[in-house]
């Protein structure tokens, strides 16, 4: 009896926090996992919405087959150029925001002004307003035309790669606008490396260059990973992304199949990112 009470006590003590997490779990089941499974289900069915209800007829892999092998225009013509572009944009965004965050972490005159400015893109680049700016040519770099860089690139590279590079360069300002959150994440991450480590390294005679490679970079690795994931996720939900424009409530079945193919591509991208980072962190662990 006594033991039972004790067990009950430890149990209730152990799991008393369950009510803190319960709303989130319920929300997850309702708003994430159920729709996810349902959308997978729909991608194998022909969904018809009538006045009385929804009828599903099983069509198997038909939609996947037609998207992948028959009518590939949605996937290949619009998604592949976009993917090539993304391949360039991810490293640019991550490296640029890393650089800016390291700079903003220095002590210099006017620092708080610059820090305040660097949040601005988050405000105007997450909504429809950005389309207005882009349509008025606010996203381009002037020097591309001045130095006729575009023609040089078009000349020396095969067209399948020159086009994405050019579109990246043409929207370079846009890329920088999309680095707002990443800069903030890096700034927050930089604070996790304590000043005493740098102090110790300085006493041991390390120069700033060495300190950057031996302390700052390894210490920031988790945040580089986080930012890369964030950037991948963010870019794949980019406005003007060709696939997302196809998602509208008219054809539930085919669209679900398309978005699932797209989702798998994203997961593949993220998997590659994770693998790269696992490798990188293992190699740095060995050298240490």
């Amino acid at each position: 009896m006594n033991a039972w009470i004790r067990m009950k006590n430890t149990l209730s003590h152990r799991y008393e926090g369950i009510f803190l997490i319960l709303p989130w779990i319920v929300g997850f089941l309702l708003f994430v996992s159920f729709p996810l499974v349902y959308s997978l289900f729909m991608s194998f069915h022909s969904v018809r919405i009538t006045g009385t209800g929804i009828t599903n007829t099983f069509v198997g892999l038909k939609y996947y087959h037609s998207i992948l092998f028959e009518d590939g225009s949605a996937l290949y013509d619009s998604l592949l150029p976009f993917l090539r572009q993304v391949l360039f944009m991810i490293p640019i965004i991550v490296i640029f925001s890393f650089m800016i965050a390291i700079m903003l972490n220095q002590r210099f005159w006017g620092r708080s002004f610059f820090r305040a400015v660097f949040f601005l893109p988050v405000i105007f680049s997450s909504g429809n307003v950005i389309d207005r700016f882009l349509s008025q040519g606010r996203g381009q770099l002037g020097f591309l035309e001045q130095f006729s860089l575009s023609t040089a690139i078009a000349q020396y590279l095969p067209a399948s790669w020159a086009t994405p590079i050019l579109s990246v360069l043409n929207s370079f300002v846009l890329i920088l606008w999309y680095s707002g959150v990443q800069i903030l994440l890096f700034l927050a991450g930089r604070q996790t490396i304590s000043a005493s480590v740098y102090e110790a390294a300085r006493i041991d005679g390390a120069n700033p260059w060495e300190m950057f490679w031996k302390i700052t970079l390894p210490g920031m690795m988790p945040f580089v990973l986080l930012n890369t994931i964030y950037t991948v996720v963010d870019l794949f939900t980019f406005p003007g992304n060709p696939i997302l424009a196809a998602v509208n409530p008219t054809q539930y079945g085919p669209t679900s199949a398309l978005i699932w193919i797209y989702f798998l591509i994203i997961l593949f991208f993220l998997g590659v990112v994770f693998l790269l980072f696992a490798k990188a962190s293992r190699s740095t662990a060995q050298t240490r």
Partner: protein
């Protein structure tokens, strides 16, 4: 031999005996690389350049929207208009039905962000400090939620909301937030988790010894000291909910009173007349100005705490 060279290298530099070249080198490069003039110059060039890129659209927006007919026709007027013309703003005001769409946007964003603020804090705290069954599994689910694009789940959600009669209401934007989901909810949970997991454990232990329950500890001790994280989450959540046009577009089909983000795309200028074409750009900028101003003002006021909060969410020492 090596020892001698080392000793020579480590010889302290006596400033009085330094040559001019040495002194210039010291000014340019500094004792440490990040203190020198050259580095400073480089830093400022890069930062000012980027800050300009970030401020440019805002400046452009403000100057373009006050350009009248004269200034638009005059090719010598590039940035600064000769006279201020407020016609575009008042036209954009009526086109957007500003009072209505502003209140809809404001109400939605403030409610959703307040819900996310509390609900995500609870989940984040649980993930950071509380034991519950299958914690690792649920954490994997959290990461998974973070990477799912909203487009994957939006079609089933439309069907689901249609079943419960929530289409063309504001519930789809608000109710998920109440559960700690909604727009980018997973990111906020991760931010909170990060913040709570680095707070010292002694705080909770002291409160627990005094006999406080877990919920008391959370709401009376942990949440009040989480202000930096709260500011960051609230601002992100408010701005993103304000700007979001995807969910409202999907869930509000026939609604008359739409948020600003939707009104912005719906209200198009009249391009049939010559004057309309000429004014299109300025009108567009005036509409953008009206749409972007409220979060901008909010940021200007909360900016100090926000920047501080960003730093403190990752604080160790």
């Amino acid at each position: 031999m090596g020892k001698v060279i080392n000793a020579l290298r480590n010889k302290p530099i006596r400033p009085m005996l330094m040559g001019t070249g040495e002194r210039i080198r010291l000014i340019l490069f500094g004792k440490e690389a990040d203190k020198g003039l050259l580095f400073r110059l480089f830093l400022y060039v890069i930062l000012i350049e980027t800050a300009y890129l970030y401020l440019n659209p805002i400046l452009y927006m403000v100057t373009t929207m006050v350009k009248g007919l004269q200034d638009l026709l005059d090719p010598s007027v590039n940035w600064i208009p000769r006279s201020l013309y407020w016609g575009h703003l008042s036209k954009a005001w009526t086109l957007l039905r500003y009072p209505v769409s502003f209140s809809v946007s404001f109400g939605l964003s403030i409610v959703a962000s307040l819900f996310q603020l509390v609900a995500c804090a609870m989940a984040g705290y649980a993930f950071a400090r509380v034991a519950f069954p299958f914690k690792r599994f649920w954490f994997a689910c959290l990461i998974f939620t973070f990477v799912i694009p909203p487009q994957v789940t939006v079609l089933p959600l439309i069907l689901m909301y249609r079943e419960v009669g929530w289409v063309d209401t504001y519930y789809p934007m608000i109710v998920p937030a109440l559960f700690g989901h909604g727009l980018k909810g997973a990111l906020y949970v991760i931010i909170y988790r990060q913040f709570f997991s680095i707070l010292p454990k002694e705080l909770e232990e002291a409160a627990k010894i005094d006999g406080a329950s877990l919920y008391r500890v959370f709401f009376k001790v942990m949440l009040p000291i989480a202000t930096p994280a709260i500011v960051v989450v609230f601002l992100f959540s408010f701005v993103w909910n304000w700007n979001d046009s995807y969910y409202p577009m999907m869930f509000l089909f026939k609604m008359q009173d739409v948020p600003l983000s939707i009104a912005l795309t719906k209200a198009t200028a009249d391009l049939s007349t010559e004057e309309g074409q000429l004014f299109a750009k300025s009108l567009d900028m005036a509409k953008s100005f009206l749409a972007v101003m409220p979060p901008l003002i909010l940021y200007l006021f909360s900016q100090r705490w926000f920047v501080e909060g960003v730093e403190r969410t990752g604080l160790v020492e």
